[in-house]
Amino acid sequence: MLAAGADAGAGGGAGAADDGADGQDRRGGRGGPGFPGGAGEAAAAAAGRARPVSRARHVPEPGGDAAATTGRRETRRHGFALCVPFPSCLEAEIACGSLAPDAEPHRKAVEKQLTVSGSVLAVRWRAEDPRLLRISVLNFLDHLSLVMRTMRRFGPPISR
């Protein structure tokens, strides 16, 4: 069955930790799509002062100035991880191929990554808004279910 873990900021793996002093540099470095100046941000965050930092390519976004001063709030603090076992590697790859191409509706707020290891499809979400995270996960599960029903009804996969 599915193994799901919800971690509020304390996930494992590269780039997943978001709180604490350690996280600050990485958080500043990763930021969101609107924050290209990684080094500048990390310095500002490390300085611990809430002041606007001028960036080389500042892309204004809704609440842009507010985001500059509330460095912690706009990063993706919420995470969700899902591991879906499949009967074979090929089927896991097929599921990944079907579910990965469509972009998230709220790209700036929620991102997800799909990877296949062995015959397991692993999906990791990071989101700043728990409501959008929930919507994204539920939609994903609906489509995952559809993919599985399709594979059951029209599979097994033709051998390559």
Binding site: P101, P105, N139, D142, V147
Partner: protein, 416 residues
């Protein structure tokens, strides 16, 4: 079901097959099988029973000749030379799966998600409906076509434009079967699907296309490898205007709000004056919609007019606008053919008005029946068939759906 008009094709050859059927079963299997006893004229896509309008024989219009393409007997014998394409469509509230092989529609089942009167269809609910029926539809299509998964050469699906969640639900299935059966995938532009099916069914050579539906309103003409948009709505689609007006009057959405407005309009007696908003080559409908929503409240309360009068007035106004911008494009292009595609194209009053305009210009009008006007899977399969033969492929990584997809974004390499 009203009688078919002379310029409507794709229906004349079927005896009674269309009468009374408004939806759910855009199947054309019977139509295709009926052709065989009469034999296929070289290059002709359809052969008509004696006594019915004949189509000009068309050869070489589709581009380079393919092996055996002009030999009538071989067309029906050699299966492997003829690619069979499976097409998935679900960008709005209709979901269809179609199979096309070498210009013949082998299957075209469809389902419509109908909401209660006074409501429209929302993306999440529509997607849920599509997910519930799509696998059954796929099975139906294969069975009706008499094909197995291995007989299919390519999987086509609607890449866009349309509503996000329904598009994803359908694309996900298309990608899955393409991988399961190890077949190439093709993302098709929905508007181009309509155009290619219109061309196939009617035999029009290079028409000015009026594409009118709930989601799109465009006047399109082909030029140098693009379907160029000559005029379009600057806000909402004409079908959207009609659908939202239907909600105000709580007109039933079964089989479609537009169909019911059309029936009511026939009983209208009084023309209520509405804003007429043609802007050069373009049109605008949102102003008319707000005006008529307002007028409806007032006039129905005072009994100044009936709902039928309002339906009649709305149709007369918006259709006249569409005829005007189509005529303008035809004048620019010096075109002698007009083709109506899209769900609103089923409307016989619109067809009548377009025919009047065409006759005045000495042009020919082409239209299809509800099987192919309304969103269906076979149109995606047909466009996919053209693209597949021209060498287009959509790698999985590029196969994401897109809600905005302009008709002129696609390079039409399959036409000269």
């Amino acid at each position: 079901m009203p009688a078919q008009r002379p310029w409507q094709l794709g229906g004349q050859i079927l005896e009674g097959a269309l009468l009374g059927r408004r939806d759910d079963g855009g199947g054309a299997g019977a139509g295709v099988r009926a052709l065989e006893p009469f034999g296929a004229r070289p290059g002709a896509r359809f052969c008509l029973a004696p006594g019915v309008l004949s189509l000009p024989a068309r050869s070489g219009i589709r581009g380079p000749a393919r092996p055996g393409g002009s030999q009538p007997c071989r067309r029906f014998l050699s299966v492997s030379a003829m690619p069979a394409v499976l097409g998935f469509e679900g960008s709005a509230n209709k979901i269809g799966v179609g199979v096309v092989r070498d210009g013949a529609v082998l299957a075209n089942p469809r389902r419509t998600y109908v909401t209660p009167p006074g409501t429209g269809f929302l993306p999440g609910d529509t997607a849920r409906h599509h997910r519930a029926v799509i696998l059954d539809l796929l099975q139906e299509a294969l069975t009706e076509a008499g094909l197995t998964s291995q007989d299919i050469d390519c999987i086509a699906y609607t890449k866009g434009p349309g509503m996000g969640a329904p598009l994803v639900s359908v694309a996900v299935v298309a990608r899955t079967v393409a991988q399961l059966w190890n077949k190439p995938l093709l993302g098709v532009n929905h508007c181009i699907g309509h155009i290619e099916m219109g061309r196939l069914i009617t035999g029009a050579t290079s028409p000015t296309v009026l594409y009118v539906s709930g989601g799109n309103t465009q006047v399109i003409a082909y030029s140098e490898h693009r379907y160029r948009i000559f005029g379009e709505t600057i806000d909402i689609a004409v079908g959207n205007c009609l659908d939202r007006f239907a909600r105000v009057l709580k007109i039933s959405n079964d089989p479609s709000p537009g169909y019911n407005i059309e029936q009511m309009a026939k009983r209208g007696k009084k023309l209520v004056e509405l804003p007429y908003t043609v802007k050069g080559m373009d049109v605008s409908f949102s102003g008319i919609l707000s005006f008529i929503e307002d007028v409806a409240q007032r006039m129905l309360a005072t009994g100044e007019c009936t709902p039928e009068d309002l339906c009649f007035s709305l149709q007369e106004t918006v259709f006249a606008m569409l005829v005007e911008i189509t005529e303008r494009a035809m004048a620019h292009c010096g075109s002698q053919e007009a083709l109506i595609v899209g769900g609103v194209g089923c409307n016989l009053r619109l067809q009548e008005m377009m025919e009047t305009m065409c006759q005045e210009r000495g042009a020919r009008l082409f239209a299809t029946d509800e099987r192919f006007c309304i969103d269906n899977g076979a149109m995606i399969a047909q466009a996919g068939w053209e693209m597949f033969r021209a060498g287009h492929r959509t790698p999985l990584s590029d196969s994401g759906i897109t809600q905005r997809y302009r008709t002129d974004e696609v390079e039409v390499t399959w036409r000269d």
